[in-house]
Each structure stands twice: as C-alpha cells, then as structure tokens.
Symmetry: D2
Subunit: 440 residues, 4 copies
Amino acid sequence: MIKTKSGAEIKEPVGKLGVLLPGLGAVATTFIAGTLLVRKGLALPIGSLTQMGTIRLGKRTERKFPKIKEFVPLADLNDLVFGGWDIFEDNAYESALKAGVLRKEHLDLVKDELEQIKPMKAVFDRKYVKKLDGPNVKKAKDKFELAQMLREDIRNFKERNNCDRLVMIWCGSTEIYMEPSDVHRSLEKFEEAMKKNDDAISPSMIYAYAAIAEGVPYANGAPNLSVDIPALIQFAKEMNVPIAGKDFKTGQTLVKTVIAPMLKARMLGLTGWFSVNILGNRDGEVLDDPESFKTKEVSKLGVLEYILQPELYPDLYGNYYHKVRINFYPPRGDEKEAWDNIDIFGWLGYPMQIKINFLCRDSILAAPIVLDLALFLDLAQRSGMHGIQEWLSFYFKSPMHAPTIYPEHDLFIQLMKLKNRLRHLMGEELITHLGLEYYD
Amino acid sequence: MIKTKSGAEIKEPVGKLGVLLPGLGAVATTFIAGTLLVRKGLALPIGSLTQMGTIRLGKRTERKFPKIKEFVPLADLNDLVFGGWDIFEDNAYESALKAGVLRKEHLDLVKDELEQIKPMKAVFDRKYVKKLDGPNVKKAKDKFELAQMLREDIRNFKERNNCDRLVMIWCGSTEIYMEPSDVHRSLEKFEEAMKKNDDAISPSMIYAYAAIAEGVPYANGAPNLSVDIPALIQFAKEMNVPIAGKDFKTGQTLVKTVIAPMLKARMLGLTGWFSVNILGNRDGEVLDDPESFKTKEVSKLGVLEYILQPELYPDLYGNYYHKVRINFYPPRGDEKEAWDNIDIFGWLGYPMQIKINFLCRDSILAAPIVLDLALFLDLAQRSGMHGIQEWLSFYFKSPMHAPTIYPEHDLFIQLMKLKNRLRHLMGEELITHLGLEYYD
Amino acid sequence: MIKTKSGAEIKEPVGKLGVLLPGLGAVATTFIAGTLLVRKGLALPIGSLTQMGTIRLGKRTERKFPKIKEFVPLADLNDLVFGGWDIFEDNAYESALKAGVLRKEHLDLVKDELEQIKPMKAVFDRKYVKKLDGPNVKKAKDKFELAQMLREDIRNFKERNNCDRLVMIWCGSTEIYMEPSDVHRSLEKFEEAMKKNDDAISPSMIYAYAAIAEGVPYANGAPNLSVDIPALIQFAKEMNVPIAGKDFKTGQTLVKTVIAPMLKARMLGLTGWFSVNILGNRDGEVLDDPESFKTKEVSKLGVLEYILQPELYPDLYGNYYHKVRINFYPPRGDEKEAWDNIDIFGWLGYPMQIKINFLCRDSILAAPIVLDLALFLDLAQRSGMHGIQEWLSFYFKSPMHAPTIYPEHDLFIQLMKLKNRLRHLMGEELITHLGLEYYD
Amino acid sequence: MIKTKSGAEIKEPVGKLGVLLPGLGAVATTFIAGTLLVRKGLALPIGSLTQMGTIRLGKRTERKFPKIKEFVPLADLNDLVFGGWDIFEDNAYESALKAGVLRKEHLDLVKDELEQIKPMKAVFDRKYVKKLDGPNVKKAKDKFELAQMLREDIRNFKERNNCDRLVMIWCGSTEIYMEPSDVHRSLEKFEEAMKKNDDAISPSMIYAYAAIAEGVPYANGAPNLSVDIPALIQFAKEMNVPIAGKDFKTGQTLVKTVIAPMLKARMLGLTGWFSVNILGNRDGEVLDDPESFKTKEVSKLGVLEYILQPELYPDLYGNYYHKVRINFYPPRGDEKEAWDNIDIFGWLGYPMQIKINFLCRDSILAAPIVLDLALFLDLAQRSGMHGIQEWLSFYFKSPMHAPTIYPEHDLFIQLMKLKNRLRHLMGEELITHLGLEYYD
C-alpha cells in the first residue's frame, strides 16, 4: 500500500495487468503493436499522457515537473498482457496488416508476439452493425448466456496469463443509435431483458456487464451507449468498478473542443460550423450505414452546445448552424481527413472564417488513448475510485458524467480536471493559475 | 469604496474615464466607433470579455454565472471619453473611412462624434517606423521635452473633458527591433537618455513614460518594447500605476496559442510549423520593413517555445522548425488572412498535418481588446494593483511578466488566470475543476 | 443580311430581343439587374465572354484580337427586354432583395426597371421540386393546356414589348431525377403524354415545348432533362430552333473541368476525388431533397468520366473513387463554397494531393452565362443554325451532344470549339496552335 | 528512314540513346531509377506523355487514339543509357538515397545499375550557386578549356557506351539571376568571353555550349539562362541541334497555367494572386539565397502576365497584385507544398476567392518531364528540326520562343501545339475541335 500526502491509500501495481479489447481491429492492434515496440525500445509512445506527460507541482518558480508515471503509481508497460475478441479469426499480426495503419516493416519487429494474440469468439449481432459480418461469433440461447460466456473468457484469460488485475476497453465498431429505455433503468430489468433477448440490449452492453460482473474496469471507445446506462452505472458502483466513456476524442472533435473554447474565451460569435470527414477504413465503412452514423453524429454534435452555452450567450451562440458529415472514401484508408469551415463574427457583428484541414490518422490518435485509459482505470481501481470517472473526460467525445451536471467538453478544462485529480489523489496543492506571489 | 468579501477595497467607478490612444488608425477608430455604436444600442460589443463575458461562481450545480461587468465594478461605457495622437491630421471619422474596416453606412451613424475627435500632434520619428511619415508631429529640442509636451496634452485632455480618471493604450505602428540596453535599466538613466536624445529611446517609450508620470495606466498593443523595460516597470510601481503588454493577440497567434496547447495536452510531437500571413493595411505596409518585421517576428516566434517546453519534452518538441512570414498584399486591405501548416507526429512517430486558414479582420479582433484593457486597467488602478498585470496576459502575444518566471502563452491558462484573479479580488472561491463533490 | 467571308448569311440583329426566364429567382434577377446596371454604365459585365471577350484572328504576329461582340453580329444590350415566370408573386426587385446576391445599394440604382418586371403565373408541380411551393401557379385540365397557356404568354409578351425576336433560358430549380423514357421518344408520344398528364412530363419540358412551338431558342440552366429528350430535339430541328443545355457550369464543376484536363495532359493518375459543397440559397434548399440532388449529382459526376477516358487510360483512371456531396448550409446564403480533395499519383505511382477551396457566389457566376446564351442563341437562329448547339458546351455541366459522340467536358476544348465555330461562321481561318511559321 | 504521310523523313531510332544529365541530384536520380524500374516492369512511367499518352486522329466518331509512342518513332526505353556530372562524388544510388524521394525498398530493386552511374567531375563555381559546394569539380585555366573538357567527357561517354545518339538535360541547381548581355549576343563574343573567364558566362552555359558543339540536343530544366541566349540559339541552328527550355513546369506553376486560363476563358477578373511554397530539399536550400530565388521568381511571375494579357483586358487584368514566395522548410524534404490564394471578381465586380493547396513531390513531377524531353528532342533531331522547339513549351515555366512572338504559357494551348505538331509531322489532319460534321 502506498500512502499519499493526503492520507489516501493506493494499492501498489504489482503483477500482470491484462488489457482486454473487444474488437481486435485497427485501433486495438495499433495499440498492442505500439506498446510492444515501445517496450523493446524501438519506438516512443507519442500521444500518451501517462508515458510522456509531466505534471507541475508547486509554484512556477520551483520548476518541479515530474513525469506523470513517476508521480502516480501506474502499471509498468512491461507488465501488460493483451487479449481480445473479434468477429474475424485473424490474429493480431494479420489483423494489423489488413488495417494498414502501421507499416509492415514495423509490424515485423513484433510479429511473434502479435501472432500469439488470437481473438476469442465475439458476441456480435448484425442488427447493431449493419455493414459488418464475420465468422468468429459466439452462439447461445440468449444474451444472458452470452454474458456468462464472456465472464468465463475473462476468468480464463486471467488465469491463463497469470494476471493480477484486468481492464477492458471497447475498441469495437459503432453500433446503431439507441436511446436509454426502461430496461436500462435497473440491473434487475437489464438482466431480465438479457434473458428475454430484448433488442434494447446491444453486444457492447453485454461486454460492459460481463466486465463489471468480474470486477474489471471498463471504458468505451465508441459512441454507442454500452456502459452509459443507469443499470450498469449503478452496478459499477456496487462492484467497486471504475468506468469511463464514451467515444475516443481523436481527430476533428479534438480540434473542435479546442477551437470552440477559443471562440468562447474571446467572446467571438458563431453563425455556422460545417464539419466534413473523409475516411476509408472499416470505421468509415460502418459509419456509411445511417443508423451507425446517427450514433456518431449525436456524439459529435453535442460538443458545441455544451461548450458554447447558448443559454448564457444567446447573442453569440443562440443561432448557429452545426452540421457534421462523415463520408466513406476508400482511397484514404486509415488516414482520414477532416475539413471544418467555421463562420464566426466579431466586433459589431463583422464576419470572419476559420478553415481547418486535419490530415490525421485515426488509429494513431486512438492507440495512446487506449493505453492511458487502461493505466488510469487500473490506478483508479487500486485507489478505491469507482463508478463514473469524470476526470477522464479528457479522452472522450461524449464524456460520462453525474446526472446533476452537464458534461465538460472543453479540452483544457478536461486536462485541468485530470491533473488536479491526480494532484488531489497524491495530496498535492491544486493549481489555480492565480500566481499573485510572483509580484509581491 | 466597495468592500469585497475578502475585505479588499475598490474605489467606485464614478465620473468620466478618458481613453487616450497613441495612433488613431484602423484599430483605434474601430474601437471608438464601435463603442459609440454600442452605446447607442446599434451594435453589440462582440469579442469583449468585459461586456459579453460571464464568470462561474461556486459549483456547477449552483448555475451561478453573473456577467463579468456585473461581478466587478467596471466603468460604464457611457462614461468613456476618447482622445489620441496621430501623425496624420484626419479626424477619427476621416481616419476610419480610410482604414476601410467598418462600412461607411455604419460609420455615418456616429459621424458627428467621430469628427470631433481630432488627433493631437504625435511624438514620431521615422527612424523607428521606416515606412510611415506624416505632418502632425511635435517638435522639441529633445525627447525629454517631448515627454513634457505629452504630459501637458494628458493634463489638458483630462481637464477639458472633465475626466475623473484616464488610461492609455498604444495603438500605434510597430517600431523597429530593439533590445533592452543599459539606458533602460533605471529611471535615472532613462531620463538622462531622453535628455541626450539617445537612439535607444523610441517614441512609444516616451508615451509610456508620460502616462506613468501622470499616473495613467498604460497598455502596449504593439510588439515594440515601450513600457517593457526595467526603468518604466519600476517607475510604474512607484507611481502606483498598472501596466500591461505587449502586442495584441489577435489572428494567427491567437489560434497558435490554442493549437499548441492542444498538441501538448495530447503529447503529440511537432516537426514543423510554418505560418504565413497576407494583409494589406497600414500594419502590413509597416511590417514590409525588415526592421519592424523583426520586432513582430520575435513576438510571434516566442509563443511556441514557451508553450511547448522543449526542455521538458525533448522527444516531442526538441527539434521543430518554426517559421513565420508576413506578406504585404494590398488586395486584402484590413481583411488579413493567415495560413498555418503544422507538421505533427503521433503514436510511434507517425506523421500527420494540420492546416489552418484564418480569414480574419485585424482591427475587428483588436478593437474589443482595447476596450477590455481600458476597463480592466482602470479597475486594477482603483483596486490598488500596480506594476505588471500578468493576469491580462490573455490579451497579448508577448505577455509581460515578473523576471523570475516564464511568460504564460497558453490561452486557456491565461483565461483561468484572469478569471481566478477576478474571483480572488472579489473574495470568491477559486475554480480548480476538481469536481469530486458531484460523485459522492 | 450580313454576308460573311465564307458566304454564310446572318440576319442583322435589329429590333428588341425578349429574354424570357422561367424562374425569376437569384440567377435570373442577378442577370437582369446586372444587365440594367451595365447598360447604364454603372457596372461591368465581368464574366461575359460576349461582352468582354476577344478572339484572335490570324497569326500571333498579326496581333489581331477584335472583341467578340464586334466580330460577330450580336444583339445590343440596349435592345434586351426581360420577362419571366415564377411561383412567387414578387417582382424582380423584391425577388432580388430576397435572394441577397446583389447589395441593396446596387439594386436601388435600377429599382424602377426591376419593379416593372412581374412574373407571369408559373407552370409548377411540387411532385418535381419537393422543397418548394408558391401561389403564383397556372391551373389547367392537363399539361397540354398548360403548354398552350405558356405559348399565349410568349405571344403576349412579344407583342406587348414589341419584340423582334425572343429567347428562353431556364433559370428554375432542379427537378427530380428522371431518365428519358418511351413518351420522350417522339413528338407525337410527347404531346399525347401531355394530354394524359403523364408523370414523365415535367414542367421544364412543357416550357421547352412551348418555346420551340413558338420558334423561340431555348437553353436549360438546370440539370433536369427539359429539352434534352429525342422528342424535343427533333421538334427543334423541324422548327429551325437552336437549343442548348444542360446545367450551367459555374463553381466546383468549372474548376473540375480544368483540373481534370490538367491531370490528363500530364498523365497524372487519379485514385480519388472528393467534392463537397456548402450553400445556403434556395438552390441549396431544393438540393436538400435526395431526388433533386440525384439529378444534380448525375450531372456533376459525369464530368470526370468523359474527360479522363478510363477506357483509354486504365492504369491512370481505371479505378478512381469520385464522390460529390452538396450540403444545405444556411449561414452561407448565395455565397457557396466548394472544397475538393484530389488524390493523385505520379511517377512510379507515388501519391500526391491537391486541395481546392473555392469561395464563390453562385448567381454571380451564372448571370453572365445567361447573358451569353441569350445572345449566342439569338445569333445562332439568325445564322440558320438549329437543333443542338454543341459549340455552347462551354457553358454547361452536362453538354447536349449528337447521339453518335461523347460530350466534350474539357473547358479548353470547349472554348476552342466555341471560338473556332465563330471563326468558321465568319469565314476566318481556324486556329490550330501549330505555329511553325515563326521559326522559318 | 521513315517516310510520313506528308512526305517528311525521320531517321529510325536504332542503337543506344545516351542521356547526359548535368546535376545528378533528386530529379536526375528519380528519373534514372524510375526508368530502370519501368524497364523491368516493376513500375509505371506515370506522368510521361511519351509513354502513357495517346493522340486522337481523325473524327471523334472514328475513335482512333493510338499511343503517342506508337504514333511517332521514339527511342525505346531499353535503349537508354545514363550519365552525368555532379559536384558530389556519390554514385546514383547513394545520391538517390540522400535525396529521399524514392523509398529505399524501391531503389534497392535497381541498386546495381544505379551504383554503376558515377558522376563525372562537374563544371561549377560557387559564385553562381551560393548555397552549394562540393569536391567533384573540374579545374582549368579558363571557361573555354572547361568547355573542351566537357566535350571530351561527352565523346568518351558516347564511345564507352557505344551510343548512336545523345541528348543532354540540365538537372542542376538554379543559378543566380542574370540578364542577357553583350557577350551573349554572338558565338564569337561568347567564345571570347569564355576565354576571358567573363562573369557573364555561367556553368550552365558552358554545358549548353559543349552539347551543341558536339551536336547533342539540349534542354534546360532550371530557370537560369543557360541556352536561352542569342549566341547559343544561333549556334544550335547552325549545328542542326534542337534546344528547349527553360525551368520544368511542375507544381505550383503547372496549376497556375491551368487556373489562369480558366479565369480568362470565363472572363473573370483578378485582383491578386499570392503564391507561397514550402519545400525542404536541396532545391529549397539553393533558393533560400536571394540571388537564386530571383531567377526562379522571374520565371514564376511571368506566367500570369502572358496568359492574362492585361493589355487586351485592362478591366479584368490591368491591376492585379502577384506575389510569389518560396520558403525553405526542412521538415518537408522533397515533398513540397504550395498554397495559392487567388482573389477574383465576377459579374458587376463582386469578389470571390480560390485557394489551392498542392501537396506535391518535386522530383516525382519532374522525372517524367526529363524522360519526355530526352525522347522528343531525339525525335526532333532525327526529324531534322533544329533550334528552339516551341512545341515543347508544355514542359516549361518559361518557354523559349521566337523573338517576334510572345511565349505561350496556357497549358492547354501548349498541349494542342505539341499534339498538332506531332500530327503535322506524321501528315495527319490537325485538330480544330470545330466538329460540325456530327450535326449534318
């Protein structure tokens, strides 16, 4: 047990940490291959706050900036073990080659380790992801039984790999749009609905349920509901399991949650924001289905509304037009491109425009988020935190939050929240940027 | 006297506040005309934090978001009186027409008031701004005498307009590049150098000196040194005068101080940042001179270095190439355009690009900053603050700061600093975004 | 009668030329108002080849470049009279104001003339344009009777305005997608179908029919079939009426028919072309309906296929992905914006990208095309040309052409075709750009 | 001897064709490696008109589109032999690796052939290219002697490689700006100046002189004068040597000579054109020197003036502002990027903008031009053409032309000129695009 300055207790990160990934596609394999390369000293974990980041302690003049991974007791990369489920039978090496994110010459450096990662049979139903289908799928009489099979997978994985702890990060495809309904309201109703094969129970919910039931922290990288329903939030609290979600904040929305706060900071008005994406990977293909797109669209649209607070600033943000389009465009593969046109107005209402063209790589931006979430959720569990981890909002397009408050989308507030949460955990003084002391 | 919760005392903003502007060009006239239009209810002061902004007090669940101008005791727009100096004899209406920022139909609505604002003779020397020249210039035997003439202008303006208080905001052109030297080290040396007509004393320094000598708060909207030298910083403290600068943060750098923090927040590396500007106004013409450009360039280049902290993150920011170009391009007039190409890298070093094209308007972005600085500097003086006001860094490309610390360039840290400074002044709790209470 | 060098005879352009416009919206009123302003010497007809263009005659060393309007006998702008139909009752001034293309201060200079242009009742059916509806609509027992009413309108207009000749240019909205069917095969079937109110007869066909029946040249500025069906092409030949279409080539497609020929000229390959448009005018609203969009999409997509000739260049163009998106985005009004991303490859297959962002104005680009087509069609009729005028392909996204040949989309071939057609008409030598004579 | 339909005689392309390249850097090695790869069937010569292009013969309905290389008797790629000079001693493989254009895995496929290509000692003087220097340089008492040494190199190369014919293509760096002066006026003066080591004789002129003296066709891929002076033009005619130049038209200017003709075709006015380039290869480094940049700038600026013909169209093009900037930006390497902002106006003067962002690869675009010029110059010589080959303007930013005429910059006129020249050579009917026959 580590005892922090504030008296909090944190279990030490000894032994193996298993990272379980539903969906062994582009994001998951990029994360695994990258972590293996980093472990061998062949690449750097760029984009990972836990690995590269520092945290300021004390005053600016003290110049104390420890690395985050030296400040809080995180699992060591060498202690990670990887597993997952997928509807295709390809092992992680084959899947990574097909995804076309990392170059073959890089994958070959960790080929052996990747080939040993073979997907377990997935819980899957085309009803929820219309554009995909695959052979490596579990069969059972109902969804409850599927959940039990997943739990068994989890226990087997833990034992087989001699893991001390586990975390699960959803890296699967975006499911069709659903709103929380009555069966999601309590654990009882939810379990009953699983037994009745109710349509309101999607595969990603079954994974979340199984994880929590096994005491495994769970994060959701896609915009579908998954763990973000009252039944599972309550279940997580009861089981002392930290959860987080939803929808990794990577390309266009990452930029949006930076530019929108800039507009608000400077009180510049907005008349319209048009966002278009072109991408050609499996994700793009799945989102070519209007029902999956809607799930993503809702996730992407909410961001502006919460950051700009039109109810507080009706003259500035009471009447803007926000449109998001995602286009499947195969020539791009995983190298997606975002184009934003932002119509703003300043002093006396005079119009201006900002245009942003982001030539990004979907999985390259997502992979370090998987790593950070795995390590932070594990830290959270060892520190006795459970339920929604709002301090991890930093990583999500649609951050989960307490029902009494609005979600926080501003990337910089999210970062401050995250870092002050860590300072608080370790009993360090919170940063307010007041800084009067330098002028006495 | 207002007494805040914390016991601080603030003098009430009664009577007229004179706003004195060296340089009655595009920025100054856009500010003046706009303020007049707003006062008449004909337009909104978009872009002004003091007029449009709110500040959150207490917890998110309390939903307390007063307007800033209702939270702190600022001067009322109706109490502002405007004056200034310029090397051309045009009154503010004529000058605004030539600047071509606001449309004639808008200017005509406040034509009478604008025509009455006639520039006082300027302190000017072509040695410091090679591309400009004009007839409305003071003559004197030395720079010290010029300073005395400015002081007399200030006193006359105050009396003639029956002002209770004054502030001065430099809206003149960018002077040639200079580094602080020995004559800037103390007030004695500085005054002596003025008397000797030392080249190290530029016109903008003479204005700053005169303002402080008259007890008038001073802010510098251009990148030249002006008040940012030890002699005048010391003088300001002694005279209980708040000062701020330098170089209004408007178009490209505004965006840069938002995107660079995003990269750092997410630990994305940088290999190169190429920034080009095209603009066709008088500012563009002045910056076509390499010596003035250098002043601006230094101001624009420093931003990345301080935000990205290469010494802390050598793998991410130890080796990037940063280039800033400004091109005089007459077809654009005041509607300048910025184009940024940003070469970044993520997970395992894979490269990506961000391209930002900002079609902005120089003076439209600068005008509300003039207003905010006038009101905040006046507030600072009434609250007993003096010397460098680091909490106003939010408005500047090259924020002035205590010698012991580095400047803060991140727009969001700057905003937090500003707002927590106001909360502190009024005795409200500072915001840390920890937010644990919502999850008990 | 004018007799050209080649012996051809052209009727002189004496008397009034009536320009009839189905659809008195943004394009039509911008054209009318502009022509009136030009006539008064208050503006220039920028964008009009007939008014601004020159034509080279003879060798480069002769430097003979007469203006086109001095080379061929075109109607004088002062002889134009304007009329039209619309589903709204607004006169041309009111309609132009609502369209928001030209500034009020410009429209007011020709307010009187514009106000006198009141739309005749339109032939309209929401079945063909789902997003629009208006009160100023003709009622009749069948489509044939509607055609007779239009013919009466035409005759009345000619008499009332004392016109010598007429032309009609479709400026109405895009109708839903239709393919030519059996009832379009012959005039008899077409007339019978009108009498039966067959769904295959759209309003724009009824206008075209009425025009031809009255001996009036007809051009179609929208992508719907209108005159581009065998029945009406045959009818036009029989009636000695020149016709042209379809779909004005303005913003994005104009650029596309210039960039694609560049790629082909240089044998650069293409893997993908993604085109997105945002526009907020009535046209954008109409195209928000998938059925109208399809008509436009087919028109916009064909361009690449014909220019790039994948059957000739399978290695370069046998496998590209072309996608066109149009998004209704109200903040933009008539100032539409196009963004094209073009993925190309060069030597040994190495990839490159071209990105084009066109901030254009729909009606500003279309208006001079209306003028040119009116004048050229009138010239064609006076010169004895009839049926499809392929030499006017220059103006269209989907040029009409003889059934034995493919349409010509390359803007520069189109221009050469147009100019050599004029040279041929006047008996001048055709230009081939061989130019050996300068090196003898 | 081949006899064409028109009776012209062309020597058959039998035996080896030696391609001599002053400057074995990025462009030259990309050309050589690519040609070797194509020869082995490992890649396609994308971008090469001679290899990929077709030419239409007869009417559109005849559908006769032979490949250019089957239409005119060009040398076969298998008959090419490569040689060159460079100031560095690297062989072609080493140089290609350093250039970083082609990936190592591609270069390795032709490593052996590349390694055998070792540069002969170059004629070089830092006075003309300030940013470069290297050890592999000829020494002689004067420039005339240097020329003789080059002639000997050429003869040795021809004999050693058993070549039937040779061509030389300048692929060296851009020399400093020079204007033609008196010593360039006649061959006598030129030779005399060489003997006097006159500064007006640059290295690229010495190469051109040596080539012509040996009867070798010469093309100049850089903007410096080289062969474009009266003395050498006259010399080429006397020696029956075809010559061409100058400055390969690749990235930004290629696009410019397509967009400017579009504006003119549609009579759209121009107020400003701002072009910026970022590139990080050796070319970028050389152009970082203001004197070399000026040579390039003059070459790039002339384009608009000639295409737009302001003297013919003063209302449209009489007053535009054109600025070209090139920035050395190392992060980009050979993958240069161009950004063009084009301010245009249409109907009644209303403004619009076009922005073009070209992410291109310098050498990938230039390599196929080297190939085409080698083959076409050889064809020209075998067909008895000599002196300036204006029909090759298609490939150049600053096409050489007869003194009586203006240069032709419009890419499409250039292409028409090239193709009609080939049709003329082979006795085929020239294309005029009149096309009346399809409508009889």
